[in-house]
C-alpha cells in the first residue's frame, strides 16, 4: 500500500470528524465509513485502511492492558481501574490478562506508557546492573 499525501489528509480529516466531546463516536465513524463507501473517491480502500490504523492507535491510547502473574482479586482490580480512570479519564477501557511468565507483580500499559512492577522486570534490571 502506497500512502500518499491525499490519502493521509483525507484519513486525518475523517479521524478529526469522528469525535464528540473528545471521545470517539461509533455513530459518526459508521456514517463516515458508509459515506466513503457510497461516494467511492480515489484510493478509497487505502483511505479506509489508513483510517482504520489511525482509529486503532486512537483506541489504544485510551485502552489499559493490565497484566499479572495470577488473576487479581476483584477488589485490587477495581482499585487499579479506579486509579487509572482518575489519571486518564473515564472513557478508559480496561483489559485484564494473566501471564505466568511475569513471575509476580503487575504491569500496566496505556498507549505507549508502561508501568512495570513485575518480578521479571526487576530481575532483568538486576541482571543488567550486575
Amino acid at each position: 500500500m502506497r500512502i500518499n499525501k491525499e490519502i493521509r489528509q483525507l484519513s486525518r480529516g475523517m479521524l478529526r470528524a469522528s469525535f464528540t466531546d473528545g471521545q470517539l463516536d461509533r455513530g459518526k465513524i459508521a456514517s463516515l465509513v458508509q459515506s466513503l463507501i457510497t461516494k467511492r473517491p480515489r484510493h478509497f480502500m487505502d483511505v479506509l485502511q489508513y483510517y482504520k490504523r489511525l482509529l486503532r492507535l486512537e483506541v489504544e491510547k485510551r485502552h489499559a492492558r493490565i497484566e499479572s502473574a495470577m488473576a487479581l482479586s476483584p477488589q485490587v482490580a477495581a482499585d487499579i481501574v479506579a486509579r487509572l480512570k482518575k489519571k486518564y479519564g473515564n472513557d478508559l477501557t480496561t483489559e485484564f490478562v494473566v501471564d505466568p511468565t511475569l513471575l509476580g507483580g503487575v504491569r500496566v500499559r496505556v498507549g505507549s506508557d508502561v508501568w512495570d512492577g513485575t518480578l521479571r522486570n526487576r530481575l532483568e534490571r538486576l541482571q543488567q546492573q550486575l
Binding site: 506508557d113 512495570d116 550486575l130
Partner: protein, 510 residues
C-alpha cells in the same frame, strides 16, 4: 564465592523496588538494518532505543504514527511484534588514552585480541561543535613529514585539510605517513623528555574500506611503531551501513576527549565518499526524500557538523585541538561532483592528487596548482617559511614554462635557469611512502636548493644527492640539525654553519 553472594545481596538491597515507568512501542516492520515502530510517543530524536535480545537502535525519523530507527548490532535478532523501549540516553562511546594502540568498532568495542578497553569516560557521538568564543586561531604546525606538504600546503593543529583524488593515487598513504611522522616526533620528544612538546595522538577512521586495506594499514603502523599513539576505528565494507554512518562521529568523540583535556588529536576520515554512500543507504531505506545523486537533503549538514568539530580551543575551554584530514575519492578526476564540492567548501583547503602525476613517477602526486591550505604560513615554523617561501611560486612558473622545455636550446639563460630549478624542486619533492622526513632535514635540503647547491647536480641524480645529504647530515652534523630543530629559525650563525656543512658535503659528493 561468599563475597560474590554478598555483592549480589548488597546490589539487591540497593535496587529500587518501585515500579518503573517506561515508554514502549511495537516493531511493525523491519529489514535492511532499519525498523519501523508504532508507539514510542515520548521518544526523542537520536535517542537510543532498546530492542529485546540486547539489540539497540537509534531513532532517526519521528513521524505522525511511527518512528523510523536504525539498528546497531545484529539486526536479524529483531522481528515484527517485538516490544521496544526508550532509554533516555544518547549513543555514546568510550574515550580516553585506554583506546590508544587499539582497533575498535563504531561503538568502541575492541576488534583486536588485546582484552577489554578500560575506560571510565564516555562521550556522546553527536555533539555541537565549539562556538566562536571557545576557539583560537590555528598557529601550531602538524608536521606531516611530507616535504611537498610541509613546504607548500602547511597544515595546522585544529585545521581541516581535505585529501582528494582518484582511486589509487596515494590518498591513504599521505594519511598513514602523517601518522608515522607524528609517532616518531612523539617518541623522540618522550625520549628527550621535552616538556614543551605537545604530542599529537592519531585516530584513523576506516569507513567502508576493504578489511584487507585496514589490516595493511594496521600492519604498517605496527611495524613503524606508530600504533601506541593511534586508535583505529574500523567500519569496513562488510559492516552495516549504520555502523559506517556512525563511525566518523565516534572518531570525533574520541578526538574531542583529547581536545577537552589539553591534548592534541589528529583524525583521519578514510573516506567520506563512502560515508556519504552509507548515509544515503540509511536515508533511502528510511524513505527520506532524496535529492541530487539520490543523496538526502541533509548530506551537506552531515559532513559540515562532523568537520566543524575539529578546532583549536582556548586554554580555559580545554586548550587542546582536533585536526581533521578527511579523504574524498573522486571519479575520473571530477571535483565538481556533489560530495567533493560539498567537502571542499567545508574544509580549510585541499591536497589534490593527480593520476597523471602519479604515473609520471611524481609521488606523492600532489598537484601544486590545485592544492591550497587556507590557513597559510601561520602554521609553519619560521625556518620553513624562510626556505620555502618562494617554492610554490617557483614551481608555478616552472609549470608555465614547462611547455617550452622541449626547445631547451633556444631559451635565454634566465628561463633555462628557472626550468632547471623547477625540475630539481620536483625531484626533491618526490618521496618514498612510509618515510617521513623530519622538519630540520627538510629545512637543510631546501636551504641547499635555494642557495644553488642542487643546481649543478644532474636531474636524474637529484634524489640520490638528497638522500646522501640527509644521511650525511644525520651522521656527521647531528648538532646542526638539533639546533635547527630547537631554534626553529635560521639566523646568521646557523646559515653560516649550514653553508660550511654543504661546502664540506660538496667535496665528498661524486
Amino acid at each position: 564465592m561468599s563475597s560474590i553472594l554478598e555483592e549480589i545481596e548488597t546490589k539487591i538491597a540497593g535496587l529500587k523496588t518501585s515500579a518503573s515507568k517506561s515508554n514502549v512501542g511495537v516493531v511493525r516492520e523491519t529489514g535492511d538494518g532499519v525498523a519501523r515502530i508504532e508507539g514510542l510517543s515520548d521518544v526523542m530524536l537520536n535517542e537510543m532505543i532498546e530492542f529485546p535480545n540486547g539489540v539497540f537502535g537509534l531513532a532517526l525519523n519521528l513521524e505522525e504514527t511511527e518512528v523510523g530507527a536504525i539498528l546497531l548490532g545484529e539486526s536479524t535478532k529483531v522481528s515484527e511484534g517485538d516490544e521496544v523501549k526508550t532509554t533516555g540516553k544518547l549513543l555514546q562511546v568510550p574515550v580516553g588514552k585506554a583506546l590508544l594502540g587499539r582497533v575498535v568498532n563504531t561503538l568502541g568495542q575492541p576488534l583486536d585480541d588485546k582484552g577489554p578497553i578500560k575506560s571510565q569516560t564516555f562521550y556522546p557521538l553527536e555533539k555541537i561543535a565549539p562556538g566562536v568564543i571557545k576557539r583560537l586561531s590555528v598557529s601550531q604546525p602538524v608536521q606531516t613529514g611530507i616535504m611537498a606538504i610541509d613546504a607548500m600546503i602547511p597544515i595546522g593543529r585544529g585545521q581541516r585539510e581535505l585529501i582528494i583524488g582518484d582511486r589509487a593515487t596515494g590518498k591513504s598513504t599521505i594519511a598513514i605517513d602523517t601518522i608515522i611522522s607524528q609517532a616518531r616526533l612523539n617518541k623522540a620528544a618522550e625520549d628527550e623528555g621535552a616538556k614543551d612538546y605537545r604530542p599529537l595522538y592519531c585516530i584513523y577512521v576506516a569507513i567502508g574500506q576493504k578489511n584487507s586495506n585496514v589490516a595493511r594499514a594496521l600492519d604498517v603502523l605496527e611495524r613503524e611503531g606508530a600504533l601506541p599513539y593511534t586508535t583505529i576505528i574500523s567500519a569496513p565494507a562488510s559492516d552495516s551501513a549504520t555502523n559506517q554512518y556512525l563511525a566518523p562521529f565516534a572518531g570525533a568523540a574520541m578526538g574531542e576527549w583529547f581536545m577537552d583535556n589539553g591534548m592534541d588529536a589528529l583524525i583521519i576520515y578514510d573516506d567520506l565518499s563512502k560515508h556519504a554512500v552509507a548515509y544515503r543507504q540509511v536515508s533511502l531505506v528510511l524513505k527520506r526524500p532524496s535529492g541530487r545523486e539520490a543523496y538526502p537533503g541533509d548530506v551537506f549538514y552531515l559532513h559540515s557538523r562532523l568537520l566543524e568539530r575539529s578546532a583549536r580551543v582556548k586554554d580555559e575551554f580545554g586548550g587542546g585541538s582536533v585536526t581533521a584530514l578527511p579523504i574524498i575519492e573522486t571519479q575520473a578526476g571530477d571535483v565538481s561532483a556533489y560530495i567533493p564540492t560539498n567537502v571542499i567548501s567545508i574544509t580549510d583547503g585541499q591536497i589534490y592528487l593527480e593520476t597523471d602525476l602519479f604515473y609520471q613517477g611524481v609521488r606523492p602526486a600532489i598537484s601544486v596548482g590545485l592544492s591550497v591550505s587556507r590557513v597559510g604560513s601561520a602554521a609553519q615554523i619560521k625556518a620553513i617559511k624562510q626556505v620555502a617561501g618562494k617554492v610554490k611560486l617557483d614551481l608555478a612558473q616552472f609549470r608555465e614554462l614547462a611547455a617550452f622545455a622541449q626547445f631547451g636550446s633556444d631559451l635565454d639563460a634566465a628561463t633555462k635557469a628557472r626550468l632547471d630549478r623547477g625540475q630539481r624542486i620536483v625531484e626533491l619533492f618526490k618521496q618514498k611512502q612510509y618515510n617521513p622526513i623530519p622538519v630540520e632535514e627538510q629545512v637543510a635540503v631546501m636551504w641547499a636548493m635555494q642557495n644553488g647547491y642542487v643546481d649543478p647536480v644532474p636531474v636524474d641524480r637529484v634524489k640520490e644527492f638528497q638522500l646522501k645529504l640527509q644521511d650525511w647530515l644525520q651522521t656527521r652534523k647531528e648538532s646542526l640539525l638539533r639546533s635547527i630543530r630547537e631554534k626553529k629559525q635560521l639566523d646568521q650563525e646557523l646559515e653560516g654553519k649550514l653553508k660550511a656543512a654543504l661546502e664540506e658535503f660538496k667535496t665528498t659528493w661524486q
